[in-house]
Amino acid sequence: MRRALLLAALLLPATALPAQARSEATTTPRKTATATTRKTLPKPAYHAADAPTNAPVAYVGGMKPVMDQGRYFHGILDQLEGRYAPGGTDFRWDGEAWYGGDYNRLWLKSEGTLEHGRLHDGDHELLYSRAVSPYWNVQAGVRADIDDGPTRTWGALGVQGLALYQFEFQATAYVSDRGRFASRIEGSYDFLLTNRLILQPQAEFNLYTRSDPARQVGAGLSDVDAGLRLRYEIWRKFAPYVAVSYAGYLTQARRIVHDQHGESGALRLTFGVRSWF
């Protein structure tokens, strides 16, 4: 059962990619076994007037008339929030930043929770991102779990992009130096109530092949962090929100946390700010 879940998680990225790999391949038509008239037609010889050439154009002074290979730097804090509940209050962040051009970017992702002065669930990724289709990027790099628990490092490979119906989606598979595997799936959706008032359901799931009690990780579906955020975009780059959020451990991890006398899950009232630059 767990295996099946994990497999599904790992396969998701592949299925989420639309049939995008068409790229230039479509310019050479494939045979379709249809009408007989086709046989009499010679193969279309597609040729673009602006096809790339090896002969460089001699631009005056070596100046390109437009610079379409600009590089950009942006960072976004999707979650910067306090979560309130009778049992305790904690503080969470989840954000990412990238630098690069249209195809190649360097990504930094970071998330973590501060609870009773202790940092947990802190992980940070440094990824190379490559645009591969209209809406999808493949990302590869390293992830380091750095917080109050023992540090773990992982190799990461995943996809990030915009799925059908405009769901933001990320799925990443991880392999640790100790031969363990893990996977994370994140999704969110912006539901516009008005042009500035936006309701955003969001969820993140973590899966592991082996348990790691020191980090409160259980085999299988280990933990979930979900929220329903109602933000108001005062301006695009600054949007305060209210939310209900749920963070909790599932299946085996739930037992591990229970045995450690930890809290296995809580629904909390949340206030925060979404901001980017």
Partner: protein, 686 residues
Amino acid sequence: MLIPSRNRGGLSRRRFVTGLGAGAAMAALPRPLHAHTPAAGQVPPVARARWDLRVGRARIEIDRKVLHAPCIGGDVPGPVLRWRENDTVCINVTNTLADEDTSIHWHGLRLPAGMDGVPGLSFAGIPPGQTFTYRFPVTQSGTYWYHSHSGMQEAQGLYGAIVIDPPVPDPQACARDYVILLSEWTDVPPMDMLSNLKMQDDYYVFRQRTLASLPREARGAGGTLAALKDRLAWSRMRMAATDIADVTGVIYTYLLNGHAPDMNWSALFSPGERVRLRFINAASMTFFDIRIPGLEMLVVAADGNAVEPVPVDEFRIGVAETYDVIVQPKEARAYTLFAQSEDRTGYARGTLAPQPGMSGPIPPMDPRPVRTMVDMGMGDMKPGSSMKDMPMADHAPDMQAPHGHSHPMPHHESSTMEGMDMTDHAPHAPMSDMQATTLEPAPHGHDTSMPRHEAGAMEDMNMENMHPAGHGHGMPMPEQGMDEPMHHPRTAPMHTHGAMHHDMPAPGMAPVLEVDDPGPPPLNVENQNIARMPTDRLASPGDGLEHNGRRVLNYSQLRATRPGSDPRPPTREIIMHLTGNMERYIWGFNGRKFSESGPIRLRRNERVRFTLINDTMMEHPIHLHGMWSELENGQGAYRPYKHTLISQPGSKLSYLVTADAPGLWAYHCHLMLHMETGMFRTVIVE
């Protein structure tokens, strides 16, 4: 003629330089033009062949938005340059900017390539502190404009109007003659705009469909379910039907001759007089819809060239286009020049008045357009329906409904094609029949290329559900109809015309047409859509202007006053797909941006047909430097000569070019941010 601004307590419209230092610096600058520069929009009284222009930055405040704008003589827009045809003009452009190059491009003018003013292509730009002398013979007359082609200076204020007198008296000469230069103003640097759009493509759009707007849409669509279905269809495509403009009135103030709407730029007339208004769209990202409530406008020139007068109530002017109109106000009252942006987030406004200080009523803005499946290049498909449901006829190549084609071509009887069984013939055989029987008499410029498209289309699809003329826009498809076989990535052979022309000797017909056909564009990082059924939209005035109860100009109405100077049929067709990925904010042609493409090479004096297929859901003003673009709009030899052509979303159009100007030329979308992100090609005429 400085009209006090309501907002700023009587200060003149801008250019109040603060600080003694700055004032002294400005005073120290020689500004030779200022003494005899008429007020904005006033055509100088006489033409001059020699001009000195100084490019510098000046503090300019309009509508409380302060910019140290690169401009000429401290003015936005720059001076109106009045020239005379057949003169050789000499313009000294001095760059007084601190640390950046500049350039001036003479938009729409035919001149030696070295004078065109595009850094990298024509010359090396004008470095700070240096003067470049443009000297070229003026071989045309009409309304044009100039702007910087360096960096994004044009978006910040470096532009102005050009008026060229014809050598003989103008039959349309008017007692009053004004330039109406439209542009936009913001204090947001263009690079910041681009950066924001790379992060969030709808950053400046606050007109999305929302829960709050659902009831209204449901009423329009005839039911909540229908409205929801349409939304789902769009969100399935990961696009927004409300994508009208990338940059909007959220940051832009729209200007008329450099005046914000509340400054009310005014021009005078005496009742009964004919007044010529030379409209220029010098905006970098905005299309305007122009009308003068209460006045009929007579369109007499497009892009500098005279056309048979067309009386209209309204017209759309794409970025970089120019239109001359004549109005004849009879009453002694104020008339409002009203230019609303296509996305209806703002307007530019001025007044025609018998006396200074008057202002007319400002009409409310129209509702903003909403894109439909036509804009996605899906013909008349109902929103929400899928391409899968369509009788894609590669399974049934019978020609069931040729009348679905409904060409309003005079001699095109649908019955002539009825019963033709295309499947039994080699594809070129019925085509020559068609040429002989039906197509030849049609008085339009499409003498060679059309038949093959037709055959391709008819062979490949069951036309039943695809009446191009039957869709909601209700426009008569003037000549091409649905002349493109459906672009379908999975059945690429449908895109047959690339092959067909090669063995189409067509006895007695024009020479064989060589075709540079890129095929259907790839769906890749740089392209998110394929127009599967691009339609002819020349008879459509554009999204948001159809069925608004007014007579709105469309491209098929433009008819030149004299036949084209090059009667040769084209020997080559260059098909260009306009592509882009709005989500990533990358634009280009054929699924590639500029830096990943080669140049387009034209042979000297070659006669070329450019065919544009717009796979995006936005309008693109496509501009070829140095040569005319003769729009094939069904007017036969009287094709209108233009320098900038709006390609409507999901549309297909073609135009002819005579490559009579050797050198390197720019070819690009004139939306500044589209050009800068890759919708640009180098054209080499050798």
